[in-house]
Amino acid sequence: MNDTNWVLVGIGISGGLILLLRDWRLTVPALLINYGCIAAFLAQQQFLAADLVISGVELSSTVLVKVITGFATTSILAITALTFSREYNQENLDEFSLAELRRAARRAQRERASQPFHLGDYVVPFWSLVLAGIASLALPRLYPIGSYEVDFVWYWLGFTGLFTLVTANDMLKIGLGLLLIAGSIDMLYTAISRTVQIFPLAMLSLMTIVLALAIAYLSGLLFSRLKTLELNELYKP
């Protein structure tokens, strides 16, 4: 039991929760935990030389950058989810647009009222989770690139991200899937690349934050337009 790498367990559980659950109040904190665990994993494996001492703990500044990026990204999504609606200036809209907004609000309210909890909604995400688990455990043995732990982490993040994207039913979850995938390549580059340069690392963090902003913007726009983040509403005639 002493050999258990709790940081890896944390990455596994947080990624799994993001794939499995639908409520943003659980998935967004899970993303924050995921970022925290990744930073802890990088510090633990010491891919990069420590150049900072914080409260007696030696750290690489890159690890700190990852923590800040994770915090910024999750804050953007959490604030978006809390406020959601980026209301149009309704006084500027014509009567047809106003009527459409009222219609959308009524439809969203109806949908919410008629959609109780269904265990069946979790069947596909659950089996996706199982598949991601099998692939992430098997592939590092079949196709090793770095150490087993590193390979497990980037495969796991990549697969859970991809399956989250595929099974997503709302805009915010699509964003979570994309962010997990971005985390996967971040890990791949940091842990495996022969020469880790500061500029690509900074660009990765910047891209992650911009991606979160883009998702937040689209979510806000979708919610103010359809009063829901459900993607099926987007494709209804």
Binding site: S97, L178, I185, M207, L218, L234
Partner: protein, 484 residues
């Protein structure tokens, strides 16, 4: 550090113009001046003089300069067109930021990790342009536009991730490291094929392109489909140059890629034939063109690569022509909006001629610019395998049939304004009983001139292609992965 100025100048100016974005005409006028200044800046930059910044190499080769000048010129034209046709409130600032990012991609081409992420960033910025609304709009964003933006966002992010993953793997791979095992170079080529396939809209990753062509403002389509995709193509060539092992260890993989390109060309043309809408038809023809371009790159021959890059250059001008023409044809002209108009060539002769000329240039019909580039691609196909050539000719023929169908259905129908015999005035008829005389708007002069200029540019490039071909061929001959 002039390269930094090239990157920072449009981005800073874009940020500044964001502050005054509500004053549309002032913003567009200033953006046009900034674009012209950027052209001057590009022409003054030293060629093939690498410099270092934060451990990265910045340089500009003649091909990069040619494309960069074209990108900025197209953007300047886009600002002029946006002056006359309503575009999004943030069009000018977003375009300038995109220009800055594209300039950075071109000067950082030797840094694949950075460029892959910059491409994702350009895609994310482009999403804002896709869902933009004109200043003071009283409408809501269309659901379909939101869906197209989301699709583009997801696909471009995945494309960037695939490319990045491929580059990390190829950077740690040493040839001959794992004897007896499948070469990681195959996996790398697969990842890059998916990444660039998503970017360039190759089958089966093509669905975003017709959607985008349908949903966005005309000049946004030109920038997103034309400029960003051409930048991606330059990046692909530079990546193959940077990691020649991808080409050297993947002879079979490249053959598969060539077949995918040829099949995409035919599929895109078939798709165009089935499209009822003009914009989607153009989108489908662009998918077909992308297939031919990816074939040219995968052939790794001098003719194929030169043809692909030249085709991409032509596509920039043709796209601008096509989307201006379509925007003109879609204008309300005083007739009821619920009736499909079939006489557009008679109603808007210059725009109609622009559309026909543009599609012909896209298909490579002489004497337009596309002919010279298509000819190079046909030659490359014929040298490798006659079946590729047969597929390309089939794709072009299907494209021509699609054009004839479009002309029949939308352009060459009988004019609605047929001369009507003077009716005798009946007893008791007053002036009020007579139907009101309809006043149809004339073709907007400014946009008509722009259409004619672009049509002329297509013809000039078609008649005198040599200077551009020479510039491209010179760079292509210097590439290490090219087959003799």
């Amino acid at each position: 550090m002039p390269y930094l100025l090239l990157i920072a100048f449009p981005i800073m100016m874009g940020a500044s113009l964001f502050m005054i974005r509500k004053q549309t005409q002032l913003t567009l006028g200033l953006a046009c001046v900034i674009a012209l200044a950027q052209i001057v800046l590009v022409t003054q930059l030293p060629i093939d003089t690498p410099s270092r910044l934060l451990g990265l190499t910045l340089t500009l080769d003649p091909l990069g300069r040619l494309f960069l000048i074209t990108f900025v010129a197209i953007s300047a034209l886009a600002f002029v067109i946006a002056w006359m046709l309503p575009h999004g409130e943030h069009f000018a600032p977003i375009t300038l930021v995109m220009l800055g990012l594209i300039s950075s991609i071109i000067v950082f081409l030797q840094e694949p990790f950075v460029v892959a992420l910059l491409l994702v960033s350009v895609g994310l910025v482009a999403v804002l342009a896709i869902i933009d609304l004109p200043t003071g709009s009283r409408q809501l964003v269309e659901r379909t536009a939101l869906a197209a933006a989301l699709k583009y966002l997801v696909m471009m992010t995945l494309a960037g991730v695939m490319m990045y993953m491929g580059f990390v793997l190829v950077s740690i791979y040493t040839p001959g490291e794992f004897p007896g095992r499948i070469s990681p170079a195959h996996l790398v080529l697969g990842l890059l094929a998916i990444g660039f396939g998503l970017r360039l809209a190759i089958l089966p990753f093509h669905s975003w392109l017709p959607d985008l062509a349908r949903e966005t403002f005309p000049m946004v389509s030109v920038l997103v489909i034309g400029v960003i995709n051409a930048t991606s193509l330059l990046f692909l060539v530079s990546a193959l140059q940077f990691f020649p092992v991808i080409v050297l260890e993947n002879a079979r993989g490249l053959t598969v890629l060539m077949w995918i390109g040829a099949i995409t060309a035919v599929y895109g043309a078939l798709l165009a034939l089935a499209q009822p809408e003009m914009r989607r038809m153009i989108g489908a023809l662009l998918v077909s063109n992308s297939g031919m371009i990816i074939f040219g790159i995968a052939s790794t021959s001098i003719k194929g690569l030169t043809g692909a890059l030249f085709e991409s250059f032509n596509q920039l001008i043709v796209l601008a022509l096509l989307f201006v023409a379509i925007a003109l044809l879609e204008r309300p002209d005083g007739r009821p909006t619920n009736v499909v108009r079939r006489d557009l060539l008679w109603r808007w002769p210059i725009a109609g001629a622009g559309l026909i000329g543009g599609v012909m240039a896209l298909l490579g019909v002489p004497p337009f610019g596309g002919f010279a580039s298509k000819l190079l691609l046909y030659e490359a196909a014929a040298q490798l395998d006659g079946r590729y050539l047969a597929l390309f000719l089939a794709a072009t023929s299907l494209g021509l049939v699609a054009l004839v169908r479009l002309a029949q259905n939308r352009l060459l129908g009988p004019p609605e304004e047929q001369p009507v015999d003077e009716q005798p005035v009946l007893l008791g008829t007053t002036e009020l009983d007579r139907p009101a005389e309809r006043r149809l708007d004339p073709e907007p002069r400014g946009l008509a001139i722009v259409t004619l200029v672009l049509l002329g540019a297509c013809l000039v490039v078609g008649v005198f292609p040599q200077p551009i071909i020479a510039t491209i061929a010179e760079v292509v001959q210097g590439l290490t992965f090219v087959r003799a």
